[in-house]
Structures are given as C-alpha cells and as structure tokens.
Symmetry: C2
Subunit: 189 residues, 2 copies
C-alpha cells in the first residue's frame, strides 16, 4: 500500500533495529482518512472470501478493525487484555506476551461473541514475532471458528512471525512489509 | 438518539443498580453501522463548534471517537492507560480510577499530540462518576488546549459525573441519558 509506505517514511521513527514508531498516525494519534483507507484495502484483499466477523485485540487494533468492519459490513470483536468485572460469563482465553509493554496478558473474548463455525478475519496493526496474531488465532480455534485470514497493517518480516503464520497455513495479508530497520532506515520488502 | 435507546433496550443487560452491560455492540463486540451513526450524531451536535482534535481513552472510546473523527475530518488521539516502552517522550499524565477494572491508571498522552491552543473534543463511551472524562479534561488543560465539549454515548446521570462536569462549565452532549437502573430496568431521562 503505497500511501502507507509514504506515511511511514515521512512520519515513522526507527527507534532501534526492532522498533518502528508510528504513533503519529497508527497507535496513539490516528489519521481518520488513512485509517478508513486501510480498512478499504483489507476489504479489497479479502473480497474473494466469506467473512462473518472481524477479530482484533485492544487497543491499537480497534481502529483499523473498525474501518475494515465498516467496509465489509460485519461486526467486530476485540479481545480484552484484562478481564473487567463485567466479563463474568464464559470466555476463551490464552496468554500473549507483549514486547513493547514487557508483560504477559491473558487475552479474552466472551464465548457468546465467537459462535462455532463463523468465518473470522483477524486484523491487527503490527506483526513482529506473531504473538498477538497467534493468540487471536488460538481463541478463534478454541471457538471452532474458521480463520479466513490475517490482515496486518505493518509486518516486520525480519522478526519471523509472518513466516511462521504462513507456514502454519494462514493467509497473511500485510499492507506493508518491512525487511529491515538497520542503520536507522526503513527498508521495505 | 432513538436508535441507541432501542439497541440498549434490546441488547443491554442491567447487572445491578449501577452497571449496564452493552458488550454486544459498544465495548467488546461492535456494530460498525451503529458506531458510524454515533460518530455522525456527535458531529451533528458539535457542528457549530471548531474542533481541531478528538481526544479519547483506550479502549472502548476509540471506535466511537474514530467514527466522529471521520465525520469531522480531524485527527484523534487516544490516551494510554499504561505507558509502553515506545512512549519515552514528554507526556501529560493524570490519575484515573476505573470502577469496572477496580484499578487506578496513570493515563498519558504524548505532549507533541496536544499542542497548546488546539480546540479539543473529548469523546467516550460511558459517563458515570466522570473520572475518565475529567481525567481527559485535565490532560487537555495541562496542554493549554481549549475544550470544545464532551461527547458521551451513554450517560448514567444518576451517578453524578455529568452534573459535575456541566457545573464546571463543560458542554456535555450525551446521546442517551439514563436516570435509573433500578429493578433491573433501564429508565431513560
């Protein structure tokens, strides 16, 4: 997605060889026009598939997942990283380690929102080691859902998560694939 | 907002006299059509104002804030409840207690995303005691921003937060106002 590449080159900051900061448009401040275009692009890439529901994880996945849900006209569910007092019902849960937060979360979706047999499209902002996307796939499989595919805004291909998910048979559609962040520079694949 | 009232009566669950659960369309599963209509309604209510930026808080505020940002064509910023490794820059921060999570968070926005003088519209899903909205207002005031108003999807008027904010001089626009959750029943104002 050319527009996204330009935005990354213009506004992204390479913090180190592993971390690209895009907080001006993707995960702290959001550009609504770009966000809706990202949703439209995911919808286009998966237009040959049946999608009953979008599955994402709080917080940075929500905006791009909503933009996709609007285009595909299907509901979205976001996994919670922390159970609230209101989530007393039966839930699917699994552990996900966050590198940027340096913590392990039990991510959770209430069972009633993932009926067996539904075709689920997983959407997230970043794919690095693949922990979050794999965790969401675990929840969907626990539920007996079919995973249509995984849509990622920015894939850091050099961290191996995308390759692992593709080897496991998932269709991973990344809008931008980054081959390296060496020497403070973003190199796209 | 009549549509939202109908949705609450149809799908909401009164857990006790203080808590209304609307996780099927507002804060766990999201209905994309309704979400965009909520954004359009906020845009309509504040159409007489200048808005430079939407300010909300993760996670449940993000979707409705994005829908509003799309309609008003302005960026949105969501306050983080937890600082990540990537938020090393200077930030505005304040304490907010969450009743449903039973924890105090230091909510944070990077200074660069709240320039002094900007006109900020605060958006959130619920207003009960007003802790979250007040916290966001504190951040905006720390930044020297002007607060255009506060847009709330569901105001639980009987918990006093909305009255407190209105007394403090803020324009609070709530799409639905709930007067009571007594006897397992939602009573609108």
């Amino acid at each position: 997605m050319e527009l996204l590449k330009q935005k990354i080159l213009l506004e992204g900051t390479v913090l180190n060889e592993k971390v690209l900061k895009v907080d001006s448009f993707l995960n702290h401040q959001l550009d609504p026009v770009l966000t809706m275009q990202i949703g439209a692009e995911f919808a286009r890439r998966f237009e040959d598939c049946t999608v009953d529901k979008i599955l994402t994880i709080e917080s940075s996945g929500i905006a791009v997942a909503l933009a996709t849900a609007v285009k595909l006209n299907v509901p979205l569910v976001f996994a919670r990283k922390k159970r609230s007092l209101l989530m007393s019902e039966e839930a699917y849960t699994t552990e996900v380690y966050s590198y940027t937060k340096q913590e392990t979360n039990h991510i959770t979706v209430l069972k009633k929102f993932l009926p067996a047999g539904e075709k689920v499209l997983i959407i997230d902002d970043f794919l690095a080691s693949g922990a979050a996307a794999s965790g969401l796939a675990v929840l969907a499989r626990q539920a007996g859902c079919e995973i249509t595919g995984i849509g990622i805004v920015i894939e850091k291909s050099f961290q191996g998560g995308a390759a692992k998910l593709r080897q496991a048979g998932y269709r991973v559609e990344s809008l931008v694939r980054i081959g390296s962040l060496k020497d403070g520079k973003v190199t796209f694949l």
